[in-house]
């Protein structure tokens, strides 16, 4: 029972009398939009793991939401991420063992008294800085940097409120910090209702500024890996806009269409990724640091639907994305929430994703070919298909409180995984990815 210092003796007496009459605790009344709502606390712990010794993450997250009444809502989210494991460095497997330097390697200046050398695939011997750590990869294995680790802290805050009768505005800010990356973003949106709240038109903008401080410095893009030519810190920014229409189609069906557009400028390359160079037989002759354009423009169209089918709620959406790097994508996502009674529900989830490769994506480079201006072997820019299947279980209790468990499994398969070159025959050059997520959530009204 919510008591504040202004609860009169008469009100207390009435509450007690009603309690006695009805034999049950007297709940608070919640009438919106005037009334103030209790604080809603949403917490979760997520565990993410990729197969084959790749990345794993533990992520605790806390979200607080407070409605001060009249739809004035403040939201605060705090996220902490800890990532460990191995991450592909972009090179392809080889018939021979391969050796790489970790990102902290910065120069070839030998340090007297501490001899350390690195032999390139073509037999050249190069002296290295003592602090460079090397790692080796067995023949046939996908090269992963096993020293990959990162930790991320992020904070988000948002405020939304009505502006007049049919208009709603919101503004939010975001700050995040990683070992090698800092980001600040601000987002604003305005929406307006028409047709007795059956139609809502919304528009928003998004601004993001990032500072990238790669460990060891940002490599000069496209240069020979063994030279370990590294520069300093980098930055990039993003400006974007969104326009959307939400429409109540029938008593049981709400639909939404969104168009988004954004432009990024600055350092868009992954400083830790390289691309293998092979000769005509497929044997490795060396590597290059990847190099991506310094601008990227993306557009997407999203159509979402929420349908009430008796006791179940279906969420079905389609998104089509494209950008000026040549990546086109299609996503179909479906969720079905099924009420099992007694405040318990399950929600199966399925997602299908397909993407075409970036124009400058290459699984590897041929030494004989002219060096392209832009190149990347990052499998996230390749042509691939991915599917996700998941199940969420939610148990509600005491009003708005809920305990939930979510399990999801993700599989990604690349289109190009092999080569006809002699020394690469029989090798799976892009084994794809399998990962699983387990997340426990607890939502509590305070």
């Amino acid at each position: 029972m919510q008591l504040n210092k202004s609860t009169t003796p008469l009100r207390l007496g009435l509450m007690a009398a009603s309690c006695a009459l009805l034999g049950a605790p007297v709940a608070r009344s919640q009438v919106a939009p005037d009334g103030e709502q209790p604080l809603l606390i949403d917490t979760g712990l997520l565990y993410y793991k990729e197969d084959q010794g790749r990345v794993q993450t533990i992520e605790p997250i806390v979200n607080l939401k407070k409605n001060y009444g009249d739809d004035h809502v403040l939201g605060v989210t705090l996220t902490f991420d800890s990532l460990t494991g191995g991450s592909p460095n972009g090179a392809i497997p080889s018939r021979k063992a391969q050796t790489f330097a970790t990102p902290s390697g910065t120069s070839l200046q030998p340090v007297s008294g501490v001899p350390q050398t690195y032999t390139t695939p073509s037999g050249q011997v190069v002296a290295l800085l003592a602090k460079v750590t090397l790692y080796s990869v067995n023949p046939g294995q996908l090269p992963l940097d096993p020293n990959f680790h990162d930790r991320r802290i992020a904070a988000d805050a948002s405020w939304s409120q009505p502006m007049g009768l049919d208009t709603h505005a919101s503004i939010s800010g975001h700050l995040s910090n990683e070992l090698d990356f800092n980001s600040a973003a601000v987002n604003g949106a305005l929406s307006r209702d028409f047709n007795g709240k059956n139609t809502t038109v919304s528009g928003g903008f998004n601004l993001e500024l990032d500072r990238i401080n790669p460990i060891g410095g940002a490599p000069v893009g496209g240069t020979d890996y063994i030279q370990l030519l590294k520069g300093g810190n980098k930055s990039k920014n993003l400006v974007g806009g969104l326009f959307g229409v939400t429409q109540v189609m029938s008593r049981r069906w709400v639909s939404q269409v969104n168009y988004t557009y954004d432009t990024s400028k600055g350092y868009l390359t992954d400083p830790y990724k390289i691309i293998s160079v092979v000769d005509t037989t497929g044997a490795s002759t060396g590597y290059r640091f990847e190099n991506r354009p310094n601008t990227r423009t993306r557009q997407s169209v999203y159509v979402g639907n929420k349908v009430y089918l008796g006791g179940e709620v279906l969420d079905l959406s389609y998104r089509r994305g494209s950008d000026n790097w040549g990546i086109k994508s299609n996503t179909v996502d479906g969720r079905l929430r099924i009420d099992l009674g007694n405040d318990v529900y399950i929600e199966p989830h399925a997602r299908w994703y397909r993407q075409a490769a970036a124009d400058f994506y290459h699984l590897y480079l041929n030494q004989a070919d002219a060096l392209p201006t832009y190149m990347s072997a990052d499998q996230r820019l390749a042509e691939f298909r991915a599917t996700t299947f998941g199940l969420k279980l939610g148990i509600g209790f005491d009003g708005n409180n809920e305990l939930s468990l979510r399990i999801e499994e993700y599989q990604q398969k690349a289109a190009q995984t092999s080569s006809s070159l002699a020394n690469l025959q029989g090798l799976n050059l892009n084994p794809g990815l399998k990962s699983a997520i387990v997340q426990i959530g607890w939502r509590y009204e305070y």
Partner: protein, 300 residues
Amino acid sequence: MRDSSAKLAVESRDGGIVAVCFLAMASPCEVLIETGDVERCRALGMLAAKEAWRIEAKFSRYRDDSVVSSINRSCGSPVEVDDETASLIEFSAQCHKLSNGRFDITSGVLRRCWKFDGSDRLPSPAEVEALRALVGFEKIRWEPPFISVPSKMELDFGGIGKEYAVDRVLAELVAQFPAAILVNFGGDLATNRAPASGPWRVGVERPGSEREAAMLLELSQGALATSGDTHRFLLRDGVRYSHILDVRTGWPVPGAPSSVTVAGGSCVEAGILATFAMLRGADAESFLDEQGVRYWCMRS
């Protein structure tokens, strides 16, 4: 015995809600449940209707076989009452105390001289005085479980019966089927929680503006009760006499609003606060402000 099956209407509403409608306590009643199972809804609706009819039958002063009628016929002899009746009497006793005597379930006899039919026929002071002698909860002997009501005095649960029924029905339905449920008996309503599609949208009629668009509230938990009825009044020499009687004088409370709607944790609590506010007449709003509850007052 009513032919129950004929009296229920089931219809589906927006956002995955099914409604069961019936008549009880001289009001249109509806039970809204968030579910796709129409048969389940019909069964729950029948449960709700039966409970509403049961309470109506038990506490109605119009029925010879009701508990209230047997108490009112007892001529001063002690009557043993069951737990439910005892709770209601106890609750009424508390309300009598908390309202400093303004709320009184023995005030029903005053309706014999006050007929609020919109006419200008006021009773004479002598008539009012005669009946006022028969009013006063302090004259009742309440020694649970025995109640002794002196001759010619009467108990009337009309002021709390409907709200009590709303709360009881909601509790019973939620115990059977914990979905989001809203119980609405003629404007006195309560809900356990909001459906997934958002808070319940409740229209509160503004008497006097006839069928004009009601005030729309969004309710996610708790109850609303409305006191007042613009059709029950008397008008003479330009003075409007509302049907809310001050038991200490036997006359209508001056300056009472035409209707008060209050939000509370339970329908019973909301209803009593609305009634208390009406009994304060011109001070209705300041009384409710003091109590720190959400309310909407209409004055014509």
